[in-house]
C-alpha cells in the first residue's frame, strides 16, 4: 500500500535534524560562508545526531540499518539549515556508505567501526573532475592494473576536507567502468592542491587533488577483485544531492513566503498580489513534486529495485531545475533586499545553482 507518512523513528529523526538546522546550522551559515569556514563544534554537534551511525549495523559499530529514504529525510532538514554545513557533517558518509553497501567484508570491518564509533573525522571521497560535460560514468581519471596493483592518474576537484582526510575513496575509470578505490592520502603520487573557490558552499573546505601513478593495492578496490556496481552508488549520490536541494529550496520558499506576508506596499502585503502568491504556489508545488520523486527513488533503492537508477536520475534532473527556479524566485520576491547578503536568499540562490554540479558531495 502506498503511504506518504514517515514512521515514528523517521519522524523523530526529522524533528532532531530540524531543530539542529534551525538552532545551529542556520544561525551560523552567513558567517561560515563569508569566512569560508565552518565551526568544528558545529560539525561535531551534527555528527552526534548519529544520522550516519544509524545507517551502519551494530556489527560494524553503528546502531541501525542503512535506509536511503531515512537519510533523505534527514538531509532535507540539515540542508534546510545550511547546505555547506549539512554536507560537512555528512562527509564521512561519502566514504562509509560506499564501503557499507559495496565493500568486502574485510573493507567493512577495517573502516566502518573506526568511522561509526569515533568522533567526526574527515573520511572523504573524490569523484568530480573539471570537465564541462563531467560524467560520473565516463571519468578521465584512469585506473589501470599494474602487476597485482592498480595505478591511478588524474585530477580530481572539489574533494571535501582533502587536507585533513587520511583515507579517501577515489573514483576512477577502469576499462570504461567507474570504480572506487580506497586511497591513503599520504600515498606516493597524491598531491593536494589549492582550496577551491566556488560560487557557493564556501564554508565547506574543498580541494583539488592530483594523482600521479598512485599505486593502489588490489585489496583496496571497493568490493575487492570483483569490484562493485557503480550505478547504485551514483544513484545514492544523485538522491543525496537532490535531497539537499529540497532543503535549500524549502528554506528559500519559506523565507520568501514570510517576507511577502510582512512586506507592505500600497496598503497591502505583497503576498496578497496574485503575481507573488502564484509564484509561491508554484514554488511549493515544484518542491513537493520533486520531493516525492526523490522519496520514490530512495524507496526503490532501498528495495534494490532495478528501476531505482532511472528514478534517481529523473529525480535529480528535476531537483536541479527545481532548486534553481525556487531559489531564483526567492531572491526575486525579496527584490532589492534579496540581492544583499544580509538576507540568506542570495546564498541559497548560489547554492541552488550548485546542485547541477555537486553530484558526489552527498550520498544516502
Amino acid at each position: 500500500m502506498y503511504s506518504f507518512q514517515p514512521d515514528e523513528e523517521q519522524q523523530m529523526l526529522i524533528d532532531v535534524t530540524r531543530r539542529l538546522a534551525a538552532n545551529d546550522l542556520r544561525p551560523a551559515a552567513h558567517e561560515a560562508e563569508e569566512h569560508g569556514e565552518i565551526p568544528v563544534s558545529l560539525v561535531a554537534k551534527g555528527w552526534e545526531l548519529g544520522v550516519l551511525q544509524a545507517s551502519i549495523p551494530a556489527e560494524f559499530g553503528g546502531f541501525g540499518e542503512r535506509s536511503a529514504l531515512t537519510s533523505v529525510l534527514a538531509l532535507e532538514e540539515l540542508a534546510y539549515g545550511d547546505l555547506a554545513g549539512a554536507l560537512a557533517m555528512m562527509v564521512p558518509g561519502l566514504f562509509a556508505i560506499p564501503v557499507l553497501t559495496a565493500g568486502t567484508e574485510e573493507q567493512k570491518s577495517t573502516y566502518l567501526p573506526a568511522i561509526a564509533e569515533g568522533a567526526w573525522t574527515p573520511w572523504s571521497a573524490a569523484l568530480i573532475e573539471y570537465q564541462f560535460d563531467f560524467d560520473p560514468q565516463d571519468l578521465h581519471t584512469i585506473a589501470r592494473p599494474d602487476g597485482g596493483d592498480y595505478l591511478i592518474s588524474g585530477e580530481k576537484r572539489l574533494v571535501p576536507f582533502a587536507t585533513e582526510a587520511k583515507t579517501m575513496l577515489v573514483y576512477a575509470n577502469l576499462d570504461g567502468q567507474t570504480q572506487a578505490f580506497i586511497v591513503d592520502a599520504k600515498a606516493d603520487g597524491v598531491t593536494v592542491g589549492e582550496r577551491e573557490q566556488l560560487m557557493g558552499i564556501n564554508a565547506l573546505p574543498l580541494y583539488s587533488i592530483h594523482l600521479d601513478s598512485v599505486r593502489i593495492p588490489k585489496a583496496n578496490r571497493l568490493g575487492g577483485e570483483a569490484g562493485h556496481d557503480f550505478g547504485a552508488l551514483l544513484s545514492a549520490m544523485r538522491i543525496g544531492i537532490s535531497a539537499a536541494a529540497i532543503g535549500v529550496a524549502r528554506a528559500s520558499f519559506e523565507y520568501a513566503r514570510d517576507y511577502a506576508k510582512e512586506r507592505e506596499v500600497l496598503g497591502s502585503m505583497i503576498a496578497q498580489k496574485q503575481s507573488i502568491a502564484f509564484m509561491l504556489a508554484e514554488m511549493a508545488t515544484e518542491i513537493e513534486a520533486t520531493r516525492l520523486m526523490i522519496w520514490e527513488a530512495a524507496w526503490l533503492l532501498d528495495q534494490d529495485n532495478p528501476d531505482a537508477e532511472r528514478a534517481a536520475y529523473l529525480a535529480y534532473s528535476g531537483a536541479v531545475d527545481m532548486a534553481m527556479m525556487v531559489t531564483d524566485r526567492g531572491v526575486q520576491i525579496l527584490g532589492g533586499h534579496g540581492y544583499i547578503r544580509e538576507h540568506p536568499v542570495e546564498l541559497w540562490m548560489r547554492n541552488g545553482r550548485g546542485i547541477a554540479s555537486l553530484t558526489g558531495l552527498a550520498i544516502v
Binding site: M1, Y2, S3, F4, Q5, P6, D7, Q10, L69, F132, D133, F134, D135, Q137, G231, L234, R257, A260, K261, A271, Q272, Q274, A277, F278, L280, A281, E282, A284, T285, E288, A289, T290, L292, M293, W295, E296, W299, L300, E309, R310, A311, Y313, L314, A315, S317, G318
Partner: protein, 414 residues
C-alpha cells in the same frame, strides 16, 4: 511508513482497465472524435454491465459506514483505486472516459451531501438494467469560476411544497446523456436566497424529464468531443421538496457552501489523474514511434551529452511521474481523511500544466506526423487542454493553493 508499494488491488484494476482501454476505447477514439455527438453505447453498456457485476455503483467510491472507519485506518484505498482507474481510462480515451455511466459528478454530490433517503432513492437507479448518467450543473454564463455568484434561483412554492427553479446553466459535462439519452438526473446549484450569498446556495436533483427543464445547447469543443457539454435552461422547473440536498433553510454560516467546495478536494486530484492518463498516452506513443525510428533514449547521461530529443523525453517522463505522485498523495490523503485542499489544488494545477506541455511537445517532436489526424497524438493535445480548465482553471487552483500556503482567506487573496 513511507511506501511506494503498489497494492495488488490497484495492480489488478490497472490490468483490467487497460484491457478495456485497449479494446473498447483506443480503436474507436478517432471515430468518436470525428463524429462529434455520437454516443459510444458499446463502451457505455459494457461498463454498465461490468460495474454492475463488480458491485460498483459508480467510479466514485462510496464512503464507508461510520463504524468501519477505525478498523480500516491506513488500509483504505478507494480514492487511490479510482485515480488509477481514471488515469487508465483517460489513457484509453479521455472523451470516452467522461462517458462512463452510473458515476459522474451528480452521484458524487448525492453521496457527499444527500440524506440516506436521497441516496437510496437516486443512487439505486444507477444499478438498473439500463445505464444512466448523472451530471452536475454549476457554471453560469456570467459567473465563471466564481461559484458564489450563482444567479439560478430556487423558490419554494408553499402551496405545492415544490421547488421552482429558474435560470441557465452552461458547460454541463454529460448533461445530454443524463437528461436526454438516459433517464438520469442533473444536480443543479441554485440559490434559495440571493441576498445570502454563499450561505444561500443549495443543490437540487433535477430528474430527466422534469417539466420546465430543457437542454438548449450542445457545445462543439476543441477536444473530448465524445463527451457532451450542454446548456440546461430552467424555466419554472418544478422539483419535489425532497430533492434539495442539505438544509432547506438559510443557515447563518456558509458551511453548506464550504462543504460543496470541499468536494473539489476529491474531484481535483481525479481530474489530475485523467490529465496524467492523457499525458502518459502521448509520452508512450512518442516513445513508441521514436523507438520504431531507431531513436534510443539513453538515461543517466549528463545534459551536456544528451541529444535534444533525449532531454525532452526525460523531462516529459519526469514531469508525468512527479505529477502522478502529487496526485497519488492527494488521493491517499482523501482515503485517510486528511485535509487535503492544498494537495488537491497542487495536484490539479501541476497535472493541468504537465499534460498541456507534454502533449504540446509530443505533437512538435513528431513533426508533420504529430500534426496529422492519422495519429492520435494531435487528438490528445486537444483533449489535454480541458484538464487545465475544468474543475477550476490553473489560475483558480494557484489561488486556492496560495491561500492555503499563506493562511489567507478568499478576501485577503483575491
Amino acid at each position: 511508513m513511507i511506501s511506494f508499494e503498489k497494492s495488488e488491488a490497484i495492480a489488478q484494476m490497472q490490468y483490467l482497465i487497460q484491457t478495456v482501454a485497449d479494446n473498447m476505447m483506443r480503436p474507436y477514439s478517432r471515430h468518436f472524435d470525428e463524429q462529434e455527438g455520437e454516443i459510444p453505447w458499446e463502451y457505455i453498456n459494457f461498463m454498465h454491465t461490468a460495474m454492475k457485476q463488480m458491485g460498483a455503483a459508480s467510479l466514485v467510491p462510496q464512503p464507508e459506514k461510520e463504524g468501519e472507519v477505525k478498523e480500516k485506518k491506513g488500509q483504505r484505498q478507494a480514492y487511490q483505486l479510482m485515480a488509477y482507474t481514471i488515469e487508465m481510462l483517460s489513457w484509453g480515451d479521455a472523451g470516452m472516459y467522461l462517458c462512463t455511466p452510473r458515476g459522474g459528478l451528480g452521484s458524487a454530490a448525492i453521496e457527499a451531501a444527500g440524506t440516506p433517503e436521497q441516496k437510496a432513492k437516486f443512487l439505486s437507479r444507477l444499478n438498473g438494467d439500463d445505464p444512466i448518467f448523472t451530471a452536475m450543473a454549476i457554471t453560469e454564463a456570467q459567473a465563471g469560476s466564481d461559484n458564489s455568484a450563482i444567479q439560478c434561483r430556487a423558490v419554494l412554492d408553499e402551496a405545492t411544497q415544490e421547488w421552482v427553479l429558474s435560470g441557465e446553466k452552461i458547460f454541463i459535462t454529460a448533461g445530454h446523456k443524463a437528461f436526454v439519452d438516459t433517464k438520469g438526473f442533473i444536480v443543479v446549484w441554485a440559490t434559495i436566497d440571493p441576498d445570502a450569498g454563499r450561505a444561500g446556495i443549495r443543490s437540487f436533483v433535477v430528474e430527466a424529464g422534469a417539466p420546465g427543464a430543457t437542454i438548449t445547447k450542445k457545445e462543439k469543443k476543441l477536444g473530448i468531443r465524445c463527451s457532451d457539454t450542454v446548456t440546461l435552461t430552467l424555466d419554472n422547473c418544478r422539483v419535489p421538496f425532497e430533492n434539495i440536498l442539505g438544509s432547506p433553510t438559510v443557515e447563518p454560516s456558509t458551511k453548506g457552501f464550504k462543504g460543496a467546495m470541499e468536494t473539489f478536494n476529491v474531484t481535483r486530484p481525479l481530474v489530475a489523474a485523467s490529465a496524467l492518463g492523457v499525458a502518459r498516452a502521448a509520452l508512450e506513443e512518442l516513445k513508441r514511434i521514436l523507438a520504431e525510428q531507431g531513436v534510443e533514449i539513453r538515461y543517466g547521461l549528463p545534459r551536456q551529452k544528451m541529444t535534444n530529443i533525449e532531454r525532452e523525453v526525460v523531462d516529459m517522463e519526469r514531469m508525468v511521474r512527479s505529477s502522478w505522485l502529487l496526485c497519488l498523495k492527494a488521493v491517499w490523503m482523501s482515503d485517510n481523511r486528511m485535509p487535503n485542499s492544498l494537495e488537491a489544488a497542487m495536484s490539479k494545477l501541476h497535472a493541468g500544466e504537465v499534460v498541456t506541455k507534454v502533449t504540446q511537445k509530443a505533437v512538435e517532436l513528431l513533426g508533420p506526423m504529430g500534426y496529422s489526424r492519422e495519429f492520435l497524438i494531435e487528438k490528445w493535445f486537444r483533449d489535454a487542454k480541458i484538464s487545465d480548465i475544468y474543475e477550476g482553471t490553473g489560475q483558480i487552483n494557484r489561488l486556492v493553493a496560495a491561500r492555503q500556503l499563506l493562511g489567507y482567506s478568499g478576501k485577503e487573496l483575491r
